[in-house]
Subunit: 273 residues, 2 copies
């Protein structure tokens, strides 16, 4: 979004004022105008003049304080640790997949990518009773996946052998535009490819197979926080295992450098209260 | 499909043998294996080893005779002229839009493209009670559109002024990959872009807006013939107005040359019986 300013949109903190003052909170990151059809329809995530915490027109969470509309804040139930609560935003985004595509008990679902988002999507699908296959390249991350979930390496690479187009629903969470065409090859005719990755550049996608095989491409971005908090309170996936490092705010530049390294899943920045 | 052989897949003719011998027929163009899950599910259009009349592994209709499985043939009701019956295949493809995307009475639908396919899609949508807007570049084609349908020029060009992303459903039928990105800009957040055009090359589509605005891209290709014949029998759109020229089979090369000219909508090739 060509954002300049304080970044950071995944946080847990304590409300300084408003109806939740003194309580531990997380916050929906999209702040809408409140007036447009999207906002009136309860969806400020698609308000055309929205601000987005640390992403669009609103300073973010890598700071001692941040500001969000009162209505964006949700209290964090006591049983949810800070280490889990920081995953509310990306877990909400992962759970949005369940709204993007209807899943029946017999729907076979795959996930492309075993990065943080792919792992979260696997947990989101597991919460809906799905035992998914994750195509990735880090076999050791099997330990981070939900029970019944299988990590299969060597499928997404451009030079890997062709596979049958057998997936009714495939969720693309690789962060790489290059993998998209390959992911499309795995989707069966009339199947659905859910795009979770926001790729910056104009990506090249072969559209002819999309038409010939009548595939659906569904873009999916942010999700609602309430279902994510419910899942964290009732049946929490062991997301804290993904935390590789912790840094104090003063060392935020170093934290960002570490977070950008290959293989790093999650870095916390801590502000002493 | 890199097909070499006799082309042609839109036809009306007389069955030479089989249960419909002597009757006027049209024929579904996809011939499946009859054994695979797609075929057993009643959808030979997605059989992985299918042949397709004049397109894939099966000689087509620009000939005195052609061969299709008996089950592919449908008798043409007497009230439907040959000039209308030849539109069964593309009209079926246009009607497939109604299966690709759920339309409620309040759904606003636009069509990108005022070529033959765009005009057929407008008629298909009109048959479902929709008064659509067609974005095109031939104002004179308003006469070919259904009543209540508006042709709006000057929107799809790359240098035309920006428009509000207001379309809940937009059907892309321009035949041009270049127009896709522009069509995407017209779709509102959480809206649907139906792709009818089979573009040959790897098309470049900016995928980031697709994710950010959570848009659905739905590929749509062939349709079932039965609903098309029903529409042609009960409430026929004046499709024969689109016929620009007629040629005998001996002049087929010239017919193809004329059909490829800018502005040409439909050319008939006639085989004397």
């Amino acid at each position: 979004m060509h954002f300049e300013g304080v970044p950071g949109h995944e946080f847990v903190g304590v409300a300084l004022d408003g109806p939740l003052a003194g309580r531990r909170v997380v916050g929906e990151i999209n702040a809408g105008c409140g007036e447009c059809p999207a906002c009136r329809g309860g969806d400020p995530r698609h308000c055309p003049t929205r601000t987005v915490l640390g992403i669009l027109g609103r300073p973010g969470a890598f700071a001692e304080e941040l500001s969000l509309p009162t209505g964006n804040l949700l209290p964090v139930p006591e049983g949810i640790s800070d280490e889990l609560a920081v995953f509310t935003e990306p877990l909400a985004a992962a759970l949005a997949v369940l709204e993007a595509v209807p899943l029946t008990p017999s729907t076979r679902v795959g996930v492309a990518g075993d990065g943080r988002l792919g792992i979260l999507v696997a947990h989101a699908l597991a919460s809906a009773g799905k035992e998914v296959v994750v195509f990735g390249r880090h076999p050791e991350r099997q330990a981070l996946l939900p029970r019944g979930c299988e990590l299969v390496p060597g499928v997404l690479e451009a030079d890997s052998p062709p596979r049958r187009p057998e997936w009714e629903v495939l969720v693309e969470a690789t962060g790489s535009a290059a993998v998209l065409a390959r992911a499309l090859e795995l989707v069966r005719p009339r199947g659905t490819l859910v795009l979770k990755t926001t790729v910056e550049e104009a990506s090249t996608l072969p559209l002819a197979p999309l038409v010939v095989n009548e595939i659906r491409l569904v873009g999916s971005r942010c999700g609602r926080f309430a279902p994510a908090l419910e899942l964290l309170a009732s049946d929490p996936p062991p997301l804290e295992k993904m935390i590789d490092h912790r840094f104090p705010l003063e060392e935020a530049p170093g934290a960002l450098e570490v977070a950008g390294r290959q293989g790093c899943l999650k870095v916390l920045i801590e502000v002493s209260g």
